[in-house]
Amino acid sequence: MLQPRSSTARSVLGSFVLIGVVVAGSAAAFAYTAGWLSPERLTPWKMLQALAPPSGPALGHRRNHAKGICFTGVFESNGNGAALSRASVLAAGQYPALGRFNLGTPNPEAADATVRVRGIGLRITPPDGQEWRTAMINAPVFAVSTPEGFHELLLAAGSKDPNAMKVFAEAHPEFASFGAWAKNAPWTGSYAEDRFNGLNSFIFTDGSGADHAVRWSLLPAAQVVPVTQDDLKKLDPDFLEQEITQRVRSGPLRWTMTVTVANPGDPTADPTKAWPEDRRTVEVGTLVVQRIEGEADGPCRDINFDPTVLPPGMRTSDDPFPAARSSVYAKSYDLRTAEAKDYPRTVAGPKP
């Protein structure tokens, strides 16, 4: 009988060392990939920490744009968008829409007149299973050029150092145009009068396979009545949701969805840079808000208006924001859904 190859004690020891190195090396590579060895990596978790107020986040709520009110309606696509994207949502037709008017604050109790940035989350679902989700704000440009810059802004805004914002603004000259808008632009007394801008650039692919870099906006059909922040401070802290609820009761509200196409060379990677006014702009349809829905127990609560949920025919561009937002919104969603017990769906007591 042949003896199996006999191993000397020495080679056995060597084998165990080799096995140990393989296992430890794999574990180390895994830890590195997970970011455990890189405390400087900007993780979604760190972004959420920077967003949270000093007293901690409002458990169960969105970690930003925490205050809002849900609606349902339809998106009436007029078919003009089909020249830009083959997404079925831009083919002529009427598709269910779900959305949420909201305020850019991590505090669900904030008084409406204290919040400069207003937003809208929107999900349009054509019948074939495709989905278009987007979250837009009323500012004409974003505050910073990069997600890293946004993190620095949050740190500066939350800092106890009275010079922090000054230091930030000097390091981020691109902040100036957003700053000027925040300071000087008129306010409105209603979500219905706000224009919402997607700000981020995306790539549309049309039926022939040609790509178009685009940004989109929602233009209100309602007459805009400019007011000052001081006017609004006299109103109820929740005047926005009360007003919109009233308004929708007396008839549906409309916004025109426009898609603006970049010229070659227009900045697509930087949402602080507006494109020149003369760029080709296509009206692709109308958002019709038909019903205001509950916030705590309505259909928006469980939706993450993740800007990378796009139908075939639309995709992200070299703009770094949608990816960063998707990652951070997912983490926010993980946390708030796990904290559902801290934010009851039904408000105790008799309903009005």
């Binding site: 009988m1 042949l2 199996p4 190859r5 191993s7 056995v12 084998s15 165990f16 080799l18 096995i19 393989v22 296992v23 794999s26 574990a27 590579a29 895994f30 990939t33 997970a34 970011g35 990596r41 900007l42 993780t43 979604p44 972004m47 299973g129 495709q130 989905e131 997600p147 469980d302 939706i303 993450n304 993740d306 990378t308 949920v309 075939p312 992200t316 070299d318 770094p320 949608p322 990816a323 960063a324 998707s326 990652s327 951070v328 997912a330 983490k331 969603y333 993980d334 859904t337 796990a338 559902a340």
Partner: protein, 192 residues
């Protein structure tokens, strides 16, 4: 004496190594994507969902081949506790290969996310939206991912132990390329 086999069938070996690479990639992509906000987040998530679904399909095929071809017996002289550990860990690996993708898919369904794969393929939702269910599934996907990685490390250590220390033909049975199998042949004759 023709029932005793010393190797897994070529199809089983192919599946084993292709899946080994895919699963390791999935674990690294998983922990990498959830810790970044860089542009690569979007393609990483798309790869994670697509490759994860491919693993589910491959795992089901593999299960069928396992029932059809069986597996070579472990060496007779392997201590009982080691045999038991080998068998249990193999059950666990199959459970995870099938369970992890199902958990991921179910988690996205319960989150009311569309489950879109590369190529514009949409998987149907397999669960209705639910906070509590998605949290449960998220936790399972998360903790089992680490258990999966630990199990794979143990599995690899054991395979190397067979290959380098015991020289007992167990590694060769699943080796990616046919390796001369003097040792097993010897044991085979000895066993007769």
């Amino acid at each position: 004496m023709n029932a005793i086999r010393h190797h897994f069938s070529p199809l089983q070996r192919l599946l084993h190594w292709v899946m080994a690479i895919c699963i390791l990639a999935m674990l690294f992509i998983g922990v990498g994507m959830v810790s970044t906000i860089m542009p690569k987040y979007v393609p990483l998530v798309a790869i994670h969902k697509t490759l994860g679904t491919a693993i589910l399909v491959l795992a089901l095929i593999r299960l069928v081949t396992r029932f059809y071809y069986g597996a070579p017996a472990l060496p007779a002289d392997l201590p009982e506790p080691m045999k038991l550990a080998a068998e249990l860990s193999h059950y666990a690996l199959y459970a995870l290969m099938i369970g992890m993708p199902l958990l991921g898919w179910a988690m996205l369904s319960a989150s009311a996310y569309p489950v879109e794969l590369y190529g514009g393929i949409y998987l149907p939702a397999i669960l209705p939206q639910s906070d509590s269910v998605r949290t449960l599934l998220w936790n399972a996907h998360y903790y089992l991912a680490f258990a999966f990685f630990a199990l794979i490390l143990m599995h690899a250590a054991a395979a190397l132990f067979h290959a380098l220390v015991r020289h007992d033909g167990v590694f060769e049975a699943m080796a990616p390329v046919p390796i001369r199998d003097e040792v097993t042949r010897v044991e085979y004759t000895a066993a007769e």
